[in-house]
Subunit: 434 residues, 2 copies
């Protein structure tokens, strides 16, 4: 179901949003052409399955160190931090008007490597490659794409595993607590470094969606549009509960050593358990049934032991173990806490009040089987935006994939995003011409 969200009067009015076909609506939009924007121009309304979409190809990991003293980052927790190294990537070309920059924001365990690969033989393809590239939803023939690893993480941006220049040792738990607001502060510093004053859009799923919302709140004058996907305006008690159990699993691992494990064995078993819990919340009952059911793993009958019987056990253990190869346990603690602290209603009477100064256009996307950030939470965002008279497109995509759908339902997302960005860009250019 998809529609420009009407101003709701009561809960039943949401039923007016339940329109069956996405295509019927999207294809009635007047097509917008981009005559001077490269080979993808004019093709953006084509079905992704009908066209040959390109890759951004070989991309280059970039890095910059910002927030040098005496101008460190002032964090929400009250502490300061600097210098801060930021790992980022960019694809596409910034227009002379600098009006086509889009900031992609990643989820808990993500990184700056959204699209492409680092070498011809590289199998490490960007995490949203199907969404970002020539002719794709985030069309690199039209838009200048930016993505940066968030502060607190472990993929090139300063986090608890980074060396504290004052001590020459990893920060570990001396790293200050960070928030979604702090992540966005760092993104803003990167914009300054890149000489970009305004963003055509900010977009991301899950924690990326929270950053998109926070971007629009923190810098209402710098953001033309925002695309929060599979996300929420505040972590629920259930969200906090799952994260807390994951943190407990990490901190219960004897190798965690109050966070001081960088010269020693890592708390991989605890981190793997935290990731296994997370994975269950990323899938749905239905998708787990379809993917695994009760099928046994490489055996004909139950083993009557405590090793692996079922495929779902094997999958979770594999995913948990693989995660420890690329992620830092302390970063998991810090970022999961940032998620739990996220609450856009804090200090205001309502979410609508928080959104009072916003100017951006919004495309809000949720997924029917996402029980981590269910559709009702997306609707709370939409209602609060509409209460401020903002332009909002809302869509709940039918999907069995649960929360992971934001990484998997890229064809449906692409139709929505491609169109939304085209209209936003037209509006921006029209405004400048008048």
């Amino acid at each position: 179901m998809v529609a420009h969200a009407p101003q709701p009067t009561d809960d039943r009015s949401w039923k007016t949003l339940e329109i069956q076909s996405i295509l019927n609506i999207l294809f009635t939009y007047p097509p917008v052409s981009f005559p001077n924007m490269g080979k993808g121009g004019g093709e953006y309304l084509m079905s992704t399955s009908d066209q040959q979409l390109g890759s951004v190809g070989i991309v280059e990991p970039k890095s910059v160190t910002l927030a040098h003293p005496p101008d460190p980052l002032r964090l929400v927790c009250g502490r300061t931090l600097g210098p801060i190294t930021v790992a980022y990537e960019t694809y596409g070309t910034l227009t002379p008007e600098k009006d086509n920059a889009i900031f992609i924001l990643h989820a808990l365990s993500g990184n700056a490597h959204v699209a492409g690969k680092y070498a011809n033989e590289d199998r490490n393809i960007g995490w949203w490659d199907s969404m970002v590239g020539p002719g794709k939803a985030f069309d690199t023939d039209k838009y200048f794409m930016i993505c940066a690893n968030v502060i607190g993480s472990c993929s090139g941006t300063t986090g608890p595993s980074s060396i504290n220049p004052e001590t020459g040792r990893p920060y570990a738990l001396s790293f200050p607590m960070i928030t979604i607001e702090d992540m966005v502060q760092v993104h803003k510093r990167l914009m300054d470094h890149l000489g970009i004053e305004r963003l055509l859009s900010v977009a991301g799923g899950s924690m990326g969606g929270m950053q998109a919302l926070q971007f629009a709140v923190s810098y209402p004058d710098l953001v033309e549009s925002a695309i929060p996907i599979a996300t929420t305006a505040r972590h629920s008690a259930q969200n906090i509960a799952f994260n807390e159990v994951g943190r407990q699993a990490i901190m219960a691992d004897p190798n965690w050593r109050e966070g001081n494990y960088y010269d020693l064995e890592s708390p991989n078993r605890g981190l793997a358990i935290a990731r296994m819990i997370g994975h269950i919340t990323y899938l749905s009952d239905e998708s787990m049934h379809q993917k695994f059911g009760r099928r046994l793993q490489e055996r004909l009958q139950k083993g009557f032991k405590f090793d692996i019987d079922f495929q779902v056990e094997s999958y979770l253990q594999y995913k948990g173990a693989r995660f420890t190869e690329r992620f830092d346990a302390n970063s998991y603690l810090y970022i999961s806490k940032a998620l739990d602290y996220f609450d856009l209603t804090e200090g205001v009477s309502s979410l609508a009040e928080r959104f009072r100064d916003l100017k951006a256009r919004f495309l809000v996307i949720s997924f029917s089987s996402d029980w981590l950030y269910p559709t009702y939470q997306a609707k709370e965002i939409v209602k609060a935006l509409k209460a401020n008279g903002l332009h909002v497109v809302f869509c709940e995509i039918n999907s069995a994939y649960g929360h992971d759908a934001f990484l998997l339902e890229t064809e449906q997302e692409s139709r929505l995003i491609r169109d939304f960005l085209a209209h936003t860009y037209t509006a921006v250019r029209n405004r400048r011409m008048t």
Copy 2:
């Protein structure tokens, strides 16, 4: 919604079950009186809130040792086990006809102590005390109630923490893997010991509901009726996944020592984490929001540390820690595995085929916000029962309490169960008279 389930023809036919008021239907049932059954007789249709319901009072924990060699229990896993000590309790009086015995079956962490207390000052009141007692749903003025701690557990019945008579040491992981079918086998041995040939009903929630179903399947001639509540005919991939993460948390605890911890420190931290995961699945998003929301625990603002910020964190840690005082980590492993192994469709083409020889009447109860064993799983049971022409009453009780509702929505459950048992008992007595 409640109704005698019609034979469904397709998914939409379930809508015919959606009848708003439970009372309207229940109170049209002809009242059944029990002239010789004590002070509760004739009052069973009264609202529980309108009447003064009694307690079973001081009860006595009982114990018997069964399955002595050369007649040990033959387990599903292929091994034998015996002797087996069974902890159990009984309340009420068995009729001379021995036609009023009801077996209550407990959930994962339950025990035989369903109702009453062991001494006047005892604060350890039975886990379903609001359901079992004079004038209550399981009316001890009418029925003879039995409950036994399941095999593999740690509250008096033989389990991994029990002494293996062959070695003089706790079984630990040498204890054989047990199944729901094995639990029910032991219950049958207890029936034999008590001289009870037939049960008026078998009833329980969660794992207790699985035992109720298994009872009707294993001993179709011995069971007049069954009341499976908040349960499933087979553990789903998501159910298995949550249990597997809990097991991993226990086995990752260095104090677990491959199960050989009985002379040493217990793996309490791992067990607490397993219980925390379980607790999240027992509640609902809504009930957690109502109970905790984002309220902070004994502080005015976020701590920006990894200790407790939110009430929900405090609650889970408290529940996890308390659980380790009364439960054995190895028992958690064994019983959670028995849950995961439970699949009544194994070895048959359908659940309906599995139910082919059944004769019992059924009352199937689910709860609207139970996402551990959602209503669709209860409906699968009901459909398969109805496919065999069995008498089935099905009710989904509207509740925000999630899976825990089976322990909390006792007033609504009582109305259904009281009536269902009365009709079943009348049918049994009428059959004998004709």
